[in-house]
């Protein structure tokens, strides 16, 4: 709660420190500014109130479940935000799954075959993932598709209930672009953690007792190497919730991150504040989930003793 409170103060103040407000943007679309009209709109939107009052009112609104009204759309902020959340959460989950499915086995194989041609190839593969921004990869995918197949996925969101196949294609391509980048990080962490674990005495003992290679690597070594990997996965997932801006923009998916940027450009305070708070909550919750997973994976870690 303390973290969220701190976040709320930071979000609120940073937004107000940015030059201009929604009224300036509204006048920008009209190509002129009238000071008298500007004051009237400021009053209409409640922007003439003291800053502290605006903050207290916002906190009050959060606690009563009323997220205020979008300045830009003149609609309840929740009504604007609600459809965005499932899109981003789905994309983040799908990307994380791809990242894990790609990153963990690659890291394990790379560690087990250390300093072989396969290890070098996999390290180059993961380094390429880290070097290529996901938006760039996304754009390359789009341009390659249009150039070679004359086809791109639909540019409007198709819900799974409308057409599951199209929906899957629509999400799979951006998830691959994002997942590849995240997998690179997971590969590297998995590899270094595995290398460390593989040199431990209990692994040597397992080998000495004649246990099967697969059982030693996947059963004993990987389980013990997973703690740092889980941390990275948790951080990556939390990052993806707010960090998919460009991928959502390139693939034209109506998610949280893309909308957040637009809301910031429009200084739509109620939407920005609540969206960033939503992201903050996801970050806090994913950290909590990672901590709980520690206890499950490593019996030495105990909570509440």
């Amino acid at each position: 709660m303390l973290t969220l409170f701190g976040m709320s103060v930071v979000i609120f103040l940073l937004l107000r420190l940015a030059p201009g407000n929604i009224v300036d943007i509204l006048f920008a679309t009209g190509g002129y500014v009238s000071e008298a009209d500007k004051q009237a709109i400021m009053k209409e939107l409640g922007l003439d109130r003291p800053i502290w009052r605006q903050y207290v009112d916002w906190l009050g609104e959060i606690f009563t479940g009323n997220l205020g009204k979008s300045y830009r759309y003149d609609l309840p902020a929740w009504e604007v935000i609600r459809p965005l959340v499932p899109v981003t959460v789905e994309l983040a989950i799908l990307s994380t799954i791809i990242a894990v499915l790609l990153g963990v086995p690659t890291g394990v194989v790379s560690a087990v075959r250390q300093d072989t041609a396969l290890d070098y190839a996999l390290r180059v593969f993961s380094l390429a993932g880290l070097s290529m921004p996901s938006f760039w990869l996304g754009m390359v995918i789009i341009l390659a598709l249009v150039a070679w197949a004359g086809w791109i996925p639909p540019v409007t969101y198709v819900s799974p209930t409308t057409d599951f196949k199209i929906h899957a294609v629509q999400f799979l391509l951006p998830a691959l672009a994002v997942g590849y980048r995240s997998s690179a990080l997971i590969t590297r962490i998995t590899r270094s953690a595995m290398l460390e674990v593989l040199r431990e005495d209990y692994i040597r003992t397992a080998w000495a007792k004649g246990q099967r290679g697969q059982a030693v690597i996947w059963g004993h070594a990987l389980k013990n190497a997973m703690l740092p990997v889980i941390t990275v996965i948790g951080i990556e997932f939390a990052f993806l919730i707010g960090g998919l801006v460009v991928t959502e923009t390139v693939f034209n998916l109506p998610g949280v991150a893309r909308f957040l940027v637009q809301a910031i450009l429009w200084r739509d305070y109620p939407v920005v504040q609540n969206l960033v708070m939503f992201i903050a909550i996801v970050v806090v919750l994913s950290n909590l989930a990672v901590d709980l997973l520690y206890g499950w994976l490593d019996p030495r870690v105990r909570y509440g003793d």
């Binding site: 940015a18 030059p19 201009g20 407000n21 300036d24 943007i25 509204l26 006048f27 920008a28 679309t29 009209g30 190509g31 002129y32 500014v33 009238s34 009209d37 709109i41 209409e44 759309y73 003149d74 609609l75 604007v80 459809p83 754009m139 789009i142 341009l143 598709l145 249009v146 150039a147 004359g150 086809w151 791109i152 639909p154 540019v155 409007t156 969101y157 923009t249 390139v250 693939f251 034209n252 109506p254 893309r258 909308f259 637009q262 450009l265 200084r267």
Partner: protein, 537 residues
């Protein structure tokens, strides 16, 4: 008549018919009804469907199909002029009392999308609101075009189907401004704020759904007042923020039509090379690149310094460097053949910045020296511009040109939120800028951008002589005399470097070949109604 003569006559007739068919392809084919047109939209609608509260194509383009004007430019004619204006909600109109009264006779049996009848009260309500008449019953939150109607003394609605615009003095241009996409009629029974979230219009299409940040969907208005129109069953505007994705969507057929003003020469060449079924029409955007020089304070309150800056910028080089040839040079009014009022080539060539670059730059250095600036005391200025690529490319070019005459300009990027407050308050020295003008009309342009005291006269240039000329052309009824006055004003503005005009942007408007009757006009703001468009597939 001999057989040979008959054969020749028939051949000539066949050729003539063939020529007509080729030059007007849409007419040669019978329009087909049905289908949904997928249209490019570069950003979500600022201010929803409230066209009167914005000055951006991002609103006008997707909102036009919902609404109707009193009069409009013929959608099938690319060149806009007084002669191409046709009735929309007005069946006919008549100038009376030597162009002091403009009387509109409205169509009967027109209904709003919610079923309410359309009457003259709606027209009076709308334009009283826009001109901020003392007895107006509603107020716009933002009102960028109030000045267009400054000459309207009163609007009367003597009966439900007649409206009279009473003018303070003759002003033929009023009709041009009323024909712009910026001049729809709102419903008097609908609160003006509702247009920001939805749309009740009399237009050919009804809003089905606006998904914020995603799309706007329209369905055919089956009660549209023009029988047999629209041809399409619906329209779908797809918001795609990323330019690369936008054109990939067009190329792959996800979109049928591009966004006005978005097609550059380079993009058009790439797209049509990859997909020859996409057709390009080159049209004037009625958007120009100009240089704002703050005339209210030093150094640009000195006309010599302003003129030196204007001389230093090679207009033809700008067209090549900034637009790769996708623009044309011109003064304050859109150049010929795209515009009606543009200066003739010979007049243009005598203006600052159009001569031989070396000679023009030498003249610029001389003027700067006269004003007290030279190698020992170089003119140092801060060049403010909007932090958007299309502004920055242009600003970089200008800075480089100025460097060649010894002017040291530094670039200051201004965020969009701060741009118009800065320009309106004149808190800048020099600023490369883009200006879009609704109709190709001197009144719409001069009163907005050059009149003393206009909020969009960002430079603060104010000349009594020019104001007299602007008023004179506005009420001149003789077309030839008016044209001569408009030319005189343009020359004076360029000589005074009031707002040096660098070039006029061309639009390489793209559409698939199955899209018929969508004719881009010489202004991006006036052809979005879509009632004549049909799909040949």
């Amino acid at each position: 008549m001999s057989r040979t003569r008959v054969a020749v006559a028939l051949l000539v007739l066949a050729l003539a018919v063939g020529l007509v068919a080729v030059s007007t392809p849409a007419i040669g084919q019978a329009p087909k009804s049905g289908g949904v047109l997928n249209i490019m939209q570069r950003e979500d609608l600022p201010q929803g469907f409230s066209i009167h509260e914005t000055a951006t194509i991002s609103t006008v383009w997707p909102a036009m199909p919902c609404l109707s004007n009193l009069v409009i430019f013929d959608p099938l004619k690319q060149q806009e002029s007084m002669d191409t204006i046709i009735g929309e909600l007005a069946e006919k109109w008549s100038w009376q009392d030597n162009y002091r009264n403009l009387v509109f006779f409205l169509r009967k049996n027109v209904t709003w999308h919610d079923g309410q009848p359309f009457t003259s009260k709606d027209v009076k309500y709308t334009f009283d609101m826009v001109r901020e008449a003392p007895d107006a019953t509603a107020k716009l939150r933002i009102n960028p075009r109030k000045d267009w109607y400054a000459n309207v003394e009163a609007i009367e609605a003597p009966d439900p189907h007649t409206v009279v615009f009473r003018l303070k003095r003759p002003q033929p241009s009023l009709l041009m401004m009323l024909a712009s996409g910026y001049s729809p009629v709102y419903a008097a029974h609908v609160p003006v704020a509702n247009y920001r979230t939805g749309c009740v219009g009399t237009g050919p299409f009804k809003v089905k759904e606006w998904k914020r940040g995603e799309s706007v969907e329209y369905v055919k208005n089956t009660d549209y007042f023009i029988k047999g129109r629209p041809y399409l069953d619906g329209l779908r505007y797809l918001v795609i923020a990323e330019r690369g994705t936008r054109f990939a969507a067009l190329q792959s057929g996800r979109l049928d039509v591009a966004f006005p003003g978005e097609g550059t020469k380079t993009i058009a060449e790439q797209v049509t090379k990859a997909e020859p079924r996409i057709k390009v029409t080159i049209a004037n955007q009625n958007v120009n690149d100009n240089l704002l020089l703050n005339a209210t304070r030093p150094p640009f309150n000195d006309v010599r310094v302003r003129r030196a800056i204007s001389l230093a910028i090679d207009r033809r080089a700008a067209v090549q460097a900034v637009h790769q040839g996708g623009a044309v040079v011109g003064a304050a009014m859109a150049p010929r053949p795209y515009g009606t009022w543009g200066l003739l080539e010979k007049d243009l060539n005598s203006l600052p910045g159009y001569g031989k670059p070396a000679e023009e730059k030498a003249r610029a250095r001389k003027l700067l020296a006269e004003a007290g600036f030279g190698p020992q005391n170089p003119l140092r200025i801060e060049m403010a511009t909007r932090a958007i690529a299309i502004y920055l490319d242009f600003a970089s070019f200008v800075i480089n040109e100025l460097k060649q005459v010894g002017v040291e300009a530094t670039l200051k990027q201004i965020e969009t939120a701060q741009w118009h407050p800065l320009a309106t308050r004149k808190e800048y020295e020099a600023a490369p800028n883009l200006t879009g003008i609704g109709p190709d009309d001197p009144d719409a342009n001069f009163y907005e951008n050059y009149a003393c005291g206009s909020p969009r006269n960002y430079t603060g240039y104010c000349s009594e002589e020019v104001m007299k000329l602007i008023d004179a052309q506005s009420q001149e009824l003789d077309a030839k005399k008016r044209l001569a006055l408009v030319w005189q004003i343009q020359k004076k503005l360029e000589e005074d470097a009031a707002r040096p005009m660098i070039d006029w942007r061309l639009d390489y408007f793209m559409r698939w070949d199955h899209v018929k009757n969508l004719v881009p006009h010489q202004s991006i703001y006036n052809y979005g109604r879509m009632q004549e468009v049909w799909l040949d597939k």
